[in-house]
């Protein structure tokens, strides 16, 4: 039998090595996969996506913009553009670069996969928001057409990604950009957020941290050249105009009743009842449909019945049935007219 001390140190060494190789995201395997992303095909696809993105936003793309977006140097970018040109996917014009029809349809296919994935991650999983984009960037290069269609079907053929960008159809059609910039919203006007730009990631991280997402109702309280103050979900949000410019909104024709969106089912104490106003737009996909299946729709009266031993979940009486919801879910449900006399 080997010396136990020796065996123990070998054992610890093996464990350490396994962790080094397998550790999620920073392990060898994960890093190898990331390195793979720099492969030629992936670079080409990313370049096409970049060109498409600029075209959609009416900006002109150049060698420099490609190099910047992909994080490669000018020489590599030039080689990449030459290759794409020979493949007939892009054309060089006087001042900038443009997509050919073939290039555009290729780009749209990648964009479609990317946005479907973001949608899936946002709706069906609990992957956190800053990771959606990164995860989708990785997966978009490895999906066959058939897999893409299956994903789309599974999601019920969604129209928009979680940032509010339209998802191209399998025929490659796409509507133009929606809404106007939040920076241009007049003081005192309310609006619905329809799109949150996810690049550059530093600005996107600020928007996520401020909890701004498509579907959110906002109202400008104060506006100056230095800052924009918004009211949303009962909180004040302060944004720099540059940051606000990355958010698109559709202004409302009328003003929304101000107190409406402040209370949620999570605020109910056992015995209290309230009427549902709506489900927060942040609650999407499967989760949202489940809540609606349970009868949580505008107009339903709900009574908080029981707290579990741990205080979470809480059981609610919804349409004669007793349904347990976790606090995180209950906080998605906006309610009004809370009353304590809630004995059904």
């Amino acid at each position: 039998m080997p010396d136990p001390l020796l065996a123990l140190s070998i054992g610890i060494g093996v464990m350490g090595a396994a962790a080094y190789v397998l550790w999620p995201r920073s392990g060898l395997i994960a890093r190898f996969q990331q390195g793979f992303l720099r492969a030629k095909r992936v670079l080409m696809e990313d370049a096409l996506k970049h060109l498409y993105d600029f075209e959609y936003r009416n900006l002109s793309s150049t060698l420099e913009s490609i190099a910047g977006a992909l994080g490669i140097n000018g020489d590599e970018a030039a080689a990449l553009v030459t290759r794409l040109e020979t493949l007939g996917l892009i054309v060089r014009r006087q001042a900038d670069l443009g997509l050919t029809a073939a290039g555009r349809s290729y780009a749209l296919r990648i964009v479609r996969i990317h946005r479907l994935w973001e949608r899936y991650l946002a709706d069906e999983t609990n992957v956190s928001e800053p990771d959606w984009h990164r995860e989708a960037e990785r997966r978009e290069h490895y999906m066959t057409g058939e897999e893409t269609e299956r994903l789309s079907k599974y999601l019920g053929n969604p129209l928009y990604d979680p940032h509010g960008d339209p998802i191209p159809t399998s025929f490659g059609t796409l509507p133009g950009p929606r809404g106007t910039s939040l920076a241009s919203l007049e003081e005192g006007r309310s609006a619905t957020v329809v799109h949150v730009e996810d690049e550059p990631s530093s600005i996107y991280a600020q928007l996520v941290a401020q909890n701004i997402y498509p579907g959110l109702l906002v109202r400008t309280i104060e506006k100056s050249s230095k800052r924009i103050v918004l009211e949303a979900g009962g909180n004040d949000i302060v944004l720099a105009p540059v940051v606000a410019a990355n958010v698109s909104v559709v202004p409302h024709e009328q003003r929304i009743r101000e107190d409406r969106l402040h209370r949620t089912l999570g605020d109910l104490r056992p015995g209290e009842s309230a009427r549902v106003v709506g489900i927060a737009p942040a609650c999407k996909g499967l989760q949202r449909r489940r809540l609606m299946d349970l009868g949580i729709v505008p107009g339903t009266t709900i009574v908080a019945e029981l707290e579990s031993v741990g205080g979470d979940p809480v059981a609610f009486r919804i349409q004669e049935a007793s349904v347990a919801l976790r606090r995180q879910q209950a906080n998605f449900v906006f309610v009004e007219e809370i009353s304590s006399g809630g004995n059904v």
């Binding site: 136990p4 123990l8 464990m15 489940r290 729709v297 339903t300 029981l306 031993v309 349904v323």
Partner: protein, 478 residues
């Protein structure tokens, strides 16, 4: 039915697509809200409430008690303890009876019967000593506890208590990325892991269901309880003064169960953060009204649906295992039995992780049914260490009447306290039995998840045993 060419179809789809962009995403919400409004209107027209029903009040009072901070957990522990106690106590007598009937009497009877008919030993050996005995063993160990545990559990289920347990325990499981209903699939797993896997159907969220399936094996099943209790009393109970022996060995078994629960949470947490990160997840838990259970009906269906099906599968898998046990101990290559070859090659690995080659071989053979681990161990130990006067021959499973006799035999086989402790750990942390694996395959329809559910506990088992053995040898020195 005319003019159904491709063109109108295409234009229908194109128009639909354009309209979808125009209408936007609120469609599902508004349609569902409309449906409910209409449903509520109709319900208002056709139903009338006459005073307050008594049942509803009773439900409410029950719920207040069963989910209260003061009584929620105590009631739950008491009820579960009662179910386990009834199972263990109640199973003793019929188990002994079945064992006498099938093993002590049935086996010699079949032996003499085959002898009377002049059946050669190489036919009666594998069939009677191998296959029959393994099946008889599984039936007598497995049937009585399952026939008691499952109906009791089903009664609690029909009454409506189990959803309240899930409700109370959800906060723990939520932190591990799992569903409160997993508590029930675990409880079911203490009866039988295969039944536990089937019961994960009550979890309708895909990710949480997979977590429950992959971790169910950490619930110590009925086939492994006897091993734990026996080894605990032989190796750990004897360390304490005689009047404490029973309590100490019981505590050791409880510690193993708690370790299993700890691993359930740990592995659930790791799974939900790594490979299952991108899997669909949602939470819903309804608390159905309490209904008086129909006892006879429940007895019947739980016996048919759960007990017999699980038992049948176990027996089907045990039969070939018995055959293999007989064959490896009786087929010789170069004068040494097949089993000896295998044990010799497994011995270094077994000793390294504080077990031995015989235990590893017993676990390989006992993949079909954990019930036969102890008889296989005893038979192989006798075979290898040439212990006379015990057992009934190569490849013939047997059990000894007193734990003391087993202890003597195992000590003679070179077992130490470390071997005992590591066997208890390995019995908790190894691959599920083949019945369970087959059930996992049936439920998930995926080879990948089936393999993973075998590999996760196996890797953990080897790792834990390895480190325990090395640390033990450094600290204790043996």
């Amino acid at each position: 039915m005319n003019g159904r060419s491709d063109t109108p179809n295409k234009s229908i789809l194109a128009v639909a697509n354009a309209l979808r962009w125009e209408i936007g995403e609120g469609l599902h919400d508004s349609v569902t809200a409309d449906l409910y409004r209409e449903a509520e209107r109709i319900a208002g027209v056709v139903t009338a409430r006459s005073g307050k029903g008594q049942r509803l009040d009773l439900d409410r009072i029950l719920d207040r008690i069963l989910t209260s901070r003061a009584f929620g957990f105590p009631t739950m522990f008491l009820l579960l303890a009662l179910v386990f106690w009834l199972t263990i106590e109640g199973a003793n007598v019929p188990s002994a009876l079945l064992s006498t009937l099938l093993v002590d009497q049935g086996h010699p009877f079949l032996k003499s019967l085959s002898a009377a008919f002049g059946v050669p030993w190489w036919v009666s050996g594998p069939l009677v000593d191998g296959t029959y005995l393994a099946m008889a063993w599984v039936v007598s160990v497995m049937l009585p506890p399952m026939a008691i545990f499952f109906p009791l559990f089903t009664l609690l289920e029909d009454f409506g208590y189990l959803p309240r347990v899930a409700f109370n325990l959800d906060f723990l499981f939520r932190k591990a990325g799992a569903h409160g209903k997993q508590a029930l699939t675990m409880a079911m797993g203490y009866g039988c892991n295969a039944a536990g896997i089937v019961s994960t159907r009550i979890i309708d969220s895909p990710r949480e269901r997979l977590i429950a399936i992959l971790t169910n094996n950490f619930a110590l099943c009925n086939g492994r309880w006897p091993t734990q209790i026996l080894i605990a009393s032989i190796f750990i109970g004897v360390l304490a003064p005689p009047y404490l022996a029973g309590a100490v060995s019981a505590l050791a078994v409880v510690a193993v169960v708690l370790l299993g629960i700890a691993f359930t949470f740990l592995v659930s947490w790791m799974l939900s953060r790594t490979i299952l990160r991108g899997t669909a997840s949602t939470f819903s838990l309804e608390l159905p009204p309490y209904r008086p259970p129909r006892i006879l009906h429940t007895l019947y269906t739980s016996l048919i649906d759960r007990t017999l099906i699980v038992l049948w599968r176990a027996v089907v898998w045990a039969a070939p295992a018995g055959l293999v046990i007989w064959l490896v101990s009786n087929i010789s290559i170069g004068g040494v039995s097949l089993a000896a070859h295998v044990v010799q090659s497994l011995d270094p690995l077994g000793l390294l992780i504080g077990l031995n080659g015989i235990i590893l071989l017993a676990y390989v053979i006992a993949i079909p049914a954990n019930e036969i681990v102890i008889p296989t161990l005893l038979m192989l130990t006798v075979l290898f260490h040439g212990i006379a006067d015990v057992g009934t021959g190569a490849g013939v499973l047997f059990e000894l009447d007193s734990p003391a006799a087993v202890a003597d035999l195992l000590h003679a086989g070179g077992w130490t306290l470390l071997t005992g402790i590591n066997l208890m750990l390995f019995s908790l942390l190894h691959n599920p039995c083949s019945t369970t694996l087959y059930t996992i395959y049936r439920e998930t329809g995926s080879v990948k998840w089936t393999l993973l559910s075998a590999l996760i506990p196996l890797v953990i088992g080897f790792t834990v045993c390895f480190f325990v053995a090395q640390v033990w040898r450094i600290v204790v020195g043996v």
